[in-house]
Point group: D2
Chain length 280, copies 4
């Protein structure tokens, strides 16, 4: 016989814009919220009995209501607040997991000063966070995804396995491009989430830009080390780096020599490098 | 100090087309392959020492070489073959995980018979599988994603939690639309993967189309039960159903009554329903 | 001085689901509507005077109200109806252009008969149409986009320009894959739009599947000829065919011969072939 | 009988990375090139005779070869160069149209100075241009697309048409968000394309950020006026502004008042505002 051994449900992609007005100076918070609950919901699967089911539409309403009723300046605070709300409000909820993605609007300048209320696209990058309550235990992480970086030199890849499947040549000067995905666990509950985000992001960029690379793996670890060095609030980091190849175009059929200047950027296939870095 | 406590790397989105010619009758296999290895690769992170690193470009080559050298009729067979290859060929590899996605081309008909060599788009749906080798242990799963289904009636949602966050009314007749994601574990290593895929897919469709629904949760379990009933080769199933809402448009401001016929389809936000079903 | 010499505005991506109930047998119509108006709207640009501006939100409402109030069985009928509505209702409107895209849900079968109310994804393909009213003149076109087709043989490409920029070899047996985009002008106002769509689509598929191809250009014209031959209601056709290349993978470095069986499918770059075909 | 009354063909999405090395200081140029030719190509459609057909693969090669052989610092220069090449090299070519999209990488800073070789994602925005040669006549335009801007106040929309289709209320304080698409014609052939791009982009941003808006139409014209005022090299401009709505969330069912602070951002439907502005 078939049995339901595990289940969860929730609402995904709840998008919210909140304006906080400090006089003429406006703060803009935009985000997309995902909610996932576990708990005593089996009867809705087995019998279609929805008595304990909180409609995902009600979850959506809750996001807007709590955004109105509470002050917060980071997505981490709001994620924790939502997770605690669902765990506290509904006896049938065993765990609540909240994931928030925040597009990175950048405040414009006006006459050398920050503009009070106008913003420009901050790129493909999203700031992300995750808050999970299970029983009394809160787990909180921050992160970013889609941070695209490229350097035109200072990157090698050589002396790797030589066997019958290899056709790639050693290179001591290549383009290195990636789109960083990072998730970090906070060491404790209380910290300056926004300052940590800024410092972590800067550490990633600096490690790519300034450290010579013998491979994407080495650069990944350099990023993790720089983040831990600069961000005392971070306990550990999961990093994922796609290797977004720029492939030298073969100019020989045309009687020309490609002096490391003409490349074909490709989206697929791409290398994927992962590492988990923690404090010793 | 920072330590690298875990790592993995590989190649993603290796796309392949293989034609198998049985005389004039051609088989078409298209797929996108992801490879992820773990093993003795820490030195590439810590020292930039790539001596044990199999280039992800070599992994890509391997996909095409093995596709040429081997006969296979399902993505599961090819995934297993690739996983075993990496585990067997390289002493430094501890585990190899292969994920394959297959777009579902459909053979055209010609004069009532299957066309020998022409195909049409099979929809947003992909067939998927996963093969992992760790030591001597192979884990193999099949699945599908993006199977879009909609029914215009035979779906209710009522008698759910009534509290101050609820604004949604009970309904005994709504549209139910979803995009099914399923991953199933095979009970043993040897089975007819293609027949199992076809039967599992049909079971999912039948459960949605023919069983009255008191909620997405109930329908999800009905799908899982039908799959286990029809597919002896399947041991357990992870199902994820987004609830792709069609929201009744309010016609009252225009002096009209919406008799359950005019809706706004929305992509976001959406409900997300998950369940894991296994044999007892 | 700067002058506004032309302007238009409207609403895009108005999505609608309509169910028509013939007893237990339900018709499902889903579509996404774009509206674009020209007319006496310059004051809204030059002075911020919105007195003649129909809010795009009101346009959106109009789509749902007219969908409720009217019977129609094709997107062409609904597009014409919307175009005539805006031109007739508002004196300030000079022209109204309506574009509708319809995702192609396919009715399921149940026990060999059409299911009364359940549907499955019909693929990446959209049916499209365009209705424009300018003064008293209606212009109406039908079409499709995203019809993906592939054949594994019956396609050549050879004897093209040989110069210093050419590296591609002649081939007398290649894969041909495309994603057809077609827009056809109707010969008159009254015709069976649904029957014409079905016949036009079948003509496209048949021309690709059954006619030997010396190049994408030749296949494009074959499609257009077949459409005009089969569809008396069609006066002329604009066809666009991307050439979605499957590139033979070079197996020689691995001591293997690629006997036209192992390919790399690529999305970019791609050829683009266009042609306009009309009756003589 | 069916006749081919018009035709064109070319290559789309040819992606290129070029590094120009001025000692340690590297310039990075990335772009995606589309080529479309018209001319004496009818025989390839009517007879499958490819004798005059330049393979789209050869067009692709040409992009890389010309990128190597020529110095250029803007996409406009390279587009013109490509257009002239095809028109000059092949007698059968009647017109050549080149469209280039350039992702906007931003150079990083290092210690307060521009980094020599590292870059970060410049956002969803692309710089674009178009060069067309027909006979001896060159037409050249510049532009941008995907420039996302948002302001939290300084935007009204009121006193528009009140009729039975209107439900939207007047507002004197709303969020205005858009994603600017602009194409401008150059007044002459020779100008500083890069300086013009920078000035045009800044004019667009300033008009949105600093001018009070009575509607998207008024803001569009303000952008166009600012561009013409700041950029003598620009003769005329086509602007398209989607109105990316932030819809106030109704908090009344929850006993709360939305004091213009909680919104739902939606991608669809959206307003679309277009205007063509030229010098008088």
């Amino acid at each position: 016989v078939a049995v339901l051994s595990d289940n969860s449900y929730g609402k995904s992609r709840v998008r919210l814009t909140k304006i906080v007005r400090n006089g003429a100076h406006h703060e803009l918070l935009e985000m997309s919220v995902d909610i996932l609950l576990t708990g005593d919901f089996a009867a809705s699967y087995t019998e279609g009995n929805n008595a304990k089911v909180i409609a995902t539409d009600s979850m959506k309403n809750t996001v807007y209501v709590l955004a109105k009723e509470n002050k917060f300046t980071s997505i981490e605070e709001f994620a924790e607040l939502l997770a605690r709300h669902f765990a506290k409000t509904y006896a049938q909820v065993k765990s609540a997991a909240i994931v928030i993605r925040q597009p990175t609007w950048q405040r414009l300048s006006a006459g050398g000063k920050p503009h009070t209320h106008a913003f420009v696209d901050g790129g493909h990058e999203d700031r992300v966070c995750r808050a999970t309550i299970e029983g009394q235990t809160l787990t909180l992480s921050g992160g970013l995804s889609g941070l695209r970086l490229l350097k035109t030199t200072g990157s090698e890849f050589r002396d790797f396995v030589l066997d019958c499947y290899r056709t790639l040549k050693d290179t001591s000067d290549r383009i290195f491009a990636t789109s960083v995905e990072a998730e970090w666990a906070y060491a404790g509950e209380a910290c300056d989430f926004n300052a940590t985000f800024t410092a972590a992001r800067q550490a990633i960029i600096r490690a790519l830009a300034d450290e010579h690379s013998l491979g994407a793996q080495q650069t990944l670890l350099a990023m993790g080390k720089a983040m831990l060095a600069d961000c005392p609030a971070i306990a550990s980091i999961q990093l994922t780096l796609p290797n977004l190849h720029r492939i030298p175009f073969n100019l020989e059929p045309f009687g020309l020599k490609n002096e490391n200047e003409i490349f074909v950027p490709v989206d697929e296939p791409h290398g994927t490098i992962k590492g988990f870095i923690e404090r010793d």
